[in-house]
Amino acid sequence: MVDLSVDLGFLKLKNPVIAASGTFGYGLEFQPLYDLNLLGGLVVKGLYFKPREGNPPPRLAETPGGLINSIGLQGIGVEAFGREVLPRLAGLKTAIIANVCGEEEEEYARVAEYLSRQAGLAALELNISCPNVRKGGKCPAQDPEATYRTVKRVQQVSSLPLITKLSPNVTDITAVALAAQEAGSQAVSLVNTFLALAIDLPTRKPKLGNVLGGLSGPAIKPLALRMVFEVTKKIEIPVIGLGGIFNAQDALEFMVAGASAVQVGTANFVNPLACPEIIKGIEDWAKSQGISSLSEIVGSLKV
């Protein structure tokens, strides 16, 4: 019997696989295809206080092994989420994590404060790393001080555990991870997408309506893996690894690099059953290796 459960300290997951924000809608979209209770957790689509229109289309461009998106966090706003969606998720036996967005610090705080008053949430993921909402792809996660301030501000108003989602579009991601830890974040998740450009040569126009977008998918996996490895060496709080995880082997590699849990994003589009299949694959692998608890492999990279 393999124990797939993962203890993040502030949150116990039945297994390490979490569906990543922005790729899983508000959770309900995948319900016709499988039992969401199989998941370790799910992170809903990013929430601003007010509904948000999102970016002009086209919003997607494919690259070899990758996907560039510029959705721009279109969404229903936190009040509609609390009123209409959360009650439908609350009965699930999986960790429901809300992804908190903001134009500035005060909006992050308002969204977090609202959500921490709702029943049914296991944690908040602080999205300070979306490359699609500010000019030139800028975000708070590109600056340790802005990261510290935003995390600190949200900590003041929210009683829920906080996972800070980091951007790979930085020189030193460990400095930002440290700032999140110092400000009181209970975990970090990394990485968000890589700021990217796709060009249509015949028209010499960008393929995306918003010009730049964020690259995800298998193409970014080695980069994300490296960053997870670097960050876990520097900080004490748990790391949730993501970036191009498409199968159980990818997920296990992130755990060996130091991630306590993983998120699966773009794979949900290519194979809607990716998450349950990865969970099964992890279990099969652990059995075949005689591993009784997944904590044995976290950070076990032999260097």
Binding site: T23, G25, G54, R59, L60, E62, Q74, N271
Partner: protein, 263 residues
């Protein structure tokens, strides 16, 4: 909504760059309605990464058919599939054409341009089964762009053809053919799928003729499930203009809700 990872290909047919694939997919076939689509994995490799959205062309018992034209890498790979191969398909996705009870004994124009004819064959069959009279308009650049001509003729529906170069049927755009027919009679409803410019021009013709219509739109899609919002397009809904998902809120929208380029 079902994911069938091993939908067997029963047979394929091709006409130049156009392809027809018949798949065994009992659950998907049972649930399918005209205008809905499948998200199809065209390769086991990661390039291309995303599934391809393709209209359901026909349903027969436990089988569904797709009809497509090679337009890029994804459809090129799909076109190489042979009978005996398997496809990973997801569907039926989206909201189809509305099949209203009052269509019984009514005359319904179905206008397809090129590969846009794909969902209209299934629609024609369902309209006929519901006691409506489908009238098909099928246009292409030249005769070889009308590979489904024989299939439509065999269906026994009133069918009109057009080619831009005049090689077969009405010489000119299919919109001109519809306009000409509208001078003679007034159908009760119109459905269309085809190139954006064709549908935009058809929408104006319908507006002038005060003819209610629905159009099937196309987009690159991430998930096909309504989760990613990658296929959003501005739509007028209840007096409000906002980005809706072509995959889940569409792909079929009433004419008055669509904002065409240049509007």
């Amino acid at each position: 909504m079902f994911q069938d990872k091993k939908a067997g290909i029963i047979k394929t047919a091709s006409w130049g760059s156009y392809f027809l694939i018949t798949l065994s997919a009992p659950e998907i076939a049972r649930e399918s309605r005209p205008g809905q689509f499948l998200m199809i994995r065209v390769s086991d490799s990661l390039n291309p990464l995303l599934r391809r959205p393709l209209s359901i062309h026909n349903r027969s018992g436990q089988e569904v058919e797709i009809f497509f034209q090679v337009a890029g890498e994804g459809t090129r790979l799909l076109a190489q599939k042979k009978a005996g191969d398997f496809l990973d398909i997801l569907g039926p996705c989206g909201q189809g054409f509305s099949l209203k009870p009052e269509f019984k004994d009514q005359e319904i124009f179905c206008v397809g341009g090129g590969r846009g004819l794909a969902p209209l064959y299934f629609l024609g069959r369902e309209l006929q089964a519901a006691g409506a009279r489908p009238v098909i308009f099928y246009g292409g650049q030249t005769l070889s762009d009308l590979p489904l001509k024989k299939r439509l003729e065999e269906a026994g529906w009133e069918t009109y053809f057009s080619t831009d170069d005049g090689s077969f049927g009405f010489p000119g755009l299919v919109t001109g053919l519809v306009e000409k027919e509208l001078e003679k009679r007034k159908p009760d409803y119109l459905f269309s799928c085809g190139p954006e410019a064709m549908m935009a021009s058809l929408a104006k013709i319908c507006q002038t003729a005060v003819l209610p219509a629905e159009f099937s739109l196309e987009s690159i899609m991430g998930c096909g499930l309504g989760a990613c919002w990658g296929c959003a397009r501005k739509i007028k809904k209840n007096g409000e203009i906002k980005y809706l998902r072509i995959c889940q809120d569409g792909p079929v929208f009433p004419a008055e809700e669509i904002i065409w380029p240049g509007d």
